[in-house]
Symmetry: none
Subunit: 251 residues, 2 copies
């Protein structure tokens, strides 16, 4: 199919000005220009525009998009899979915001008041993005491993004794957290003891411990609702507390 500026614009939900601008900066050149100067777009341009919009949706700036799409080793499949990952991350962030709204509402209606930190959970897009790039894979691998670990730890070389020890440790961490939240400070001695326990717990499955990775994981505890839910199921605010404790510990 062939489209004029308006037609393609309507199709994709962008303005004519936008398409002319994209032409101007060389991001999306029309397939051809007819004798009276009209821009005519073909199927290849349609697909390219789709790619552009995927990137734009994720907040990538136009010059970067251009570089990416024009790079000789650009692979559409990989790009789409990346889009998918990032969209999922964005949805997780949205879910955090939804939780935040709900909590704020209930606090307003006389529920439990929120800490100032809690009031901004879900907004720090950039931090989450950066963290994901740095530690995301590590954490994801870890998370995947966790599931495996739990069900058949023997395969990973852990003896049953060790596994039991690990579980006991996990329980102690939770129990300590439940007691500490709201009473102790994360940077205080009890908070630091918990962080130390957590480091020990980690050492069962992490081949090599690093403070940076530990801090990154802690950040994940509040950024990824799966973790948050896990810790908060025993006591609300536990994930937050643990995060702060570890952050202080890793410094």
């Amino acid at each position: 199919m062939e489209y004029t500026v308006k037609q393609l614009g309507d199709l994709a939900g962008v303005s004519g000005r936008t398409l002319r601008y994209y032409d101007q900066i060389g991001l999306l050149k029309p397939h051809m220009v007819n004798e009276s100067g009209y821009r005519i777009y073909g199927p290849k341009e349609v697909d390219r525009l789709q790619q552009i919009l995927f990137y734009r949706e994720l907040g990538v700036d136009l010059s970067t998009i251009k570089e990416l799409l024009d790079s000789p080793d650009f692979n559409e499949q990989d790009a789409l899979r990346e889009h998918h990952r990032h969209l999922l991350a964005k949805r997780r962030q949205l879910d955090l915001l939804l939780q935040n709204v709900e909590q704020t509402l209930s606090a307003l209606e006389g529920g439990k008041p929120m800490s100032d930190q809690e009031k901004f959970i879900g907004f720090k897009e950039k931090l989450i993005k950066e963290n994901e790039e740095k530690y995301g894979q590590e954490v994801r691998e870890k998370y995947g491993d966790d599931a495996v670990d739990a069900s058949n730890a023997k395969l990973m070389g852990l003896t049953e004794d060790k596994y039991a020890e690990m579980q006991k440790l996990a329980e102690e961490i939770i129990a300590s957290l439940v007691k500490a939240v709201g009473k102790e400070r994360p940077e205080g001695p009890e908070g630091q003891r918990i962080a130390e326990l957590h480091r020990k717990w980690l050492s069962f499955t992490w081949p090599n411990y690093s403070k940076a990775a530990h801090a990154g994981l802690a950040e994940m505890y509040v950024a990824d609702e799966r973790f948050t839910a896990y810790y908060d199921q025993h006591k609300k605010g536990a994930a937050q507390f643990l995060r702060d404790a570890i952050t202080a510990y890793a410094k």
Copy 2:
């Protein structure tokens, strides 16, 4: 608590420049300025910043935000409920985009090719916003249709056997819910079994299952009081439980 520019910025995930800009345009004035000219923010400013960020996240421009927050009949509760609605809408749009990516991928891998229209589903934010009310109604009408569908499923190509099977499934879901609510956790094994049953049940009428859509429907179960009433008639809290179970399941 009192905060300086940097402290509040770090807390909320915005830059110092941003806070100074907000001061400049009168959107967020500091509680006070100390003798050496430092901006000092108090608890009221923290809350106002939170409100600002909620609006900003939804794409409202700063001058409009200012008008809203300064309007004499501004009501925080209503605003939060609005935020909630819009965030849900945004999530629906994200789900559309996710589907789009998935379809594009499968088309690339030799699946069914997409029409040019389909290539841009999920991008037209503005249209979605405008049509939100319309869309919502459509969905609700669709729900009405679903009820009709269910009652005379033969028209939809379901054999009577299949239909009976479907009803049995529905009954099992209700029965399991009644037992589980208040005793089991939604993320626990029983909750997940119920979510799985629900997925199976859905598959009778949905042409293609997607986790995103499943989760979206679950959200509807608590957002639309007709759904809630349907599930809660047997046991209070059942809709909530089912929602949580499905949400965990779809992750």
